[in-house]
Symmetry: C2
Subunit: 426 residues, 2 copies
């Protein structure tokens, strides 16, 4: 397809999405839930057919020499498809937030003013490899009353096409427009450039993928972007604190999994508890093979830990998102220095304090400028499911519109509604 | 000042604003209110000095041949300054929304999750002529815990500099950083280009002015923009409705003032009430000299009105924001056609239905895709003060982040806060 054809194709997708969005927005909850349940049913009944299409992607990936973990992410196993089906059923079981009215108050003029939650309109989603994201995005789009245009990775194109056909069938079964959820059928990169530059049709772009991709999209997009850059998360051990809790939570925050964006990458320790705390957590890290990049003061306290893998931290380490068995460690004077360090080096994703001091907890909550701020809990909890959002379309590290895990509410906005009895302005 | 110097100056303003924003964000309510009350006091005690600076702007405007209404908008009369002072006092009397915690719920894991309202950080405001906007923006910035960079019109530069000095003095008196509110001191246009392209320092841009300015800023900005484009507002007269109410509300919506963005520009009338309603409203418009641009069916019903100024409406009329004694009029089959027409032609600012039918009211509220949707009230009510927001920094015709009149809440975002007792992720 040449650039002109791609431009025409994307414009057509945009127009169709815009037209479908009005139908999606006014669809009753029962109809949207019918589509979600139909999709769950189809995912189960068509598991074998889906695996046949998925096999084409897998064969191509293997022929292209993709690494085994990459091939694995592409795989639509019965278990992956069952999880997708259950996700659709869970969304169907949730109350509908579209149309929810809040804050209705009567004004001195007599009018009553409140706000109604309404869909954003059309969102464009750009993602890589894992084809189950197609179902996650489609189901969130249906439940939130938005239309969407999905652009998955080229490695997963056959799987995505097969999944998109099931979504279309489910929409039609429920009496919703088939164009409520559309998949970009071409793998040409030019399509992304078009998708992010159609403000007349697309209200917001949600990219999921590597930092380079997201930075490029944010720079070039002509519409708002709900973006998630890196997660350089901190755990700060305050004084006084429950040292057993501090060890347990820090171990979980760093080592439960190394790859998630909400894993702790940097450990700050109040000087008053450092001599007690650091040897204990150092022993845990040593046992698990976690490399410690520490400042001089922390290093001195960690030297005696048997088997510790120690390095002197560089300035660069304070900003690093390792996503690996590495952690930076620094001793600080107290909560004030911890907050200042975090606000300087954190990626504003998730930061936690472990403390018994109420005033320190309140200051930390108020002053740390991050999407999620925690007291006495593992940073690993920063997640749409753990926060009770039902499902998550992404995690926003922005402040505008949505911050932190983005669920259905992040795909909606509030319009003002006014109820009067013939009032006029004086 | 050359382009390089302007770039350096704006970068310095940005860095200072960013640094000040942390102080502004954590300032206790009492301190912010102290600054607001000091500002009110200074505006009153320095009225004469301010008028001396204002006189320089007025003399230059007259020498440059500005029209009398334009010169009038520049004028800092004692009354204008008193209104500014009262606005500051009203903000000081309001509860502080910064730090407000909402939706705290306990999750199955044991953690409690809620959201805390926090300032956006730094906003840049770009506005024209009226110097009192400097005080409105500065006071909203202080109350909402944001830092801001203000860029007023070149016509008002001497007034704005004098007002900004008082703001600085009020900030210092309260112990807040003088750089919490900064005025761009140069009138060079290049400064605007710099201000809207510093995502490292500025979180959001709020332009106020003509549509051309706002479109240009939206196109070129590298940060989110809270923008207000045009206001093509509709009033739809449904069947059945209270005809006396319909006449009274329509008259107010169109003729109470012609220039505001929330004035009704287009009147839709259900066929079942058109023969009763149109001659009555036609007589009102004829008496007030309002030109009616009507479709054929409405024209036929308006012909007999004595003194009516009638025109056949063109396709262009349905999209027009007249801001003048002109209204477009169309007969429609009923609520369905009215909603479709509004969603096609409205600028998504404010649209109203006059009805007695509950189902029609509900459909209109739900399906009209506008920032404010009203039942049985004048579109003129779409305003931050009338909505009880306390003060208004602008009106957003966007869906993302803030929609409709934007007050202090629109200058804030919600971060997640998590309170645990040592929970870890399983």
């Amino acid at each position: 397809m040449n650039a002109l054809n791609i431009s025409e194709t994307m414009q057509a997708l945009g127009l169709q999405a815009k037209q479908a969005s009005a139908q999606m927005a006014k669809a009753p909850s029962a109809i949207k839930n019918k589509a979600l349940l139909a999709l769950a049913r189809l995912l189960r009944s068509q598991t074998e057919a889906l695996q046949a299409d998925n096999a084409k992607d897998l064969a191509r990936a293997q022929a292209n020499g993709l690494s085994e973990p990459m091939v694995d992410r592409l795989r639509l196993t019965p278990k992956v498809l069952e999880t997708c089906a259950q996700g659709c059923e869970q969304l169907a079981a949730m109350a509908d937030v579209v149309g929810e009215v809040s804050g209705m108050k009567q004004m001195p003029s007599g009018i009553r003013v409140g706000q109604m939650r309404v869909p954003l309109g059309v969102f464009g989603m750009i993602y890589e490899s894992r084809p189950n994201v197609t179902i996650e995005a489609a189901s969130l789009s249906i439940k939130s009353g938005n239309a969407c245009i999905l652009r998955g990775g080229s490695e997963a194109i056959d799987s995505n096409k097969a999944l998109a056909r099931l979504v279309e069938q489910a929409l039609l079964e429920a009496g919703l427009p088939a164009t409520g959820v559309q998949l970009v059928q071409t793998t040409d990169r030019e399509a992304v450039g078009q998708l992010i530059a159609m403000p007349e049709y697309v209200d917001v772009i949600i990219p999921r993928g590597g930092k380079g991709l997201i930075e490029r999209i944010s720079r070039d997009a002509k519409v708002p972007v709900i973006k998630h850059l890196d997660g350089n998360c901190h755990t700060y051990i305050d004084a006084p604190c429950d040292l057993d809790m501090a060890v347990k939570v820090t171990e979980n925050a760093k080592t439960q999994k190394y790859s998630p964006c909400n894993a702790t990458e940097s450990l700050l320790v109040a000087r008053a508890v450092a001599a007690d705390f650091l040897p204990r957590i150092g022993a845990v890290f040593a046992a698990k093979g976690v490399e410690m990049r520490a400042d001089a003061e922390a290093l001195a306290l960690l030297q005696a830990v048997p088997g510790a893998r120690l390095q002197t931290a560089t300035e660069q380490d304070w900003s690093e998102e390792y996503l690996a068995a590495v952690i930076s460690i620094k001793v600080v004077a107290g909560v004030e220095e911890a907050i200042a360090h975090i606000n300087q080096y954190s990626s504003h994703h998730t930061d936690a304090i472990i403390t018994r001091d109420h005033m320190h907890a309140q200051r930390f909550l108020r002053e740390v400028d991050s999407a999620s701020v925690m007291v006495n809990a593992s940073t690993r909890f920063a997640d749409g499911f753990e926060y009770g959002l039902g499902a998550e379309i992404g995690i926003s590290t922005d402040k505008f519109h949505a911050r932190g895990p983005v669920g259905i509410e992040g795909l909606t906005s509030l319009k003002y509604i006014v109820l009067g009895e013939g009032e006029v302005r004086g």
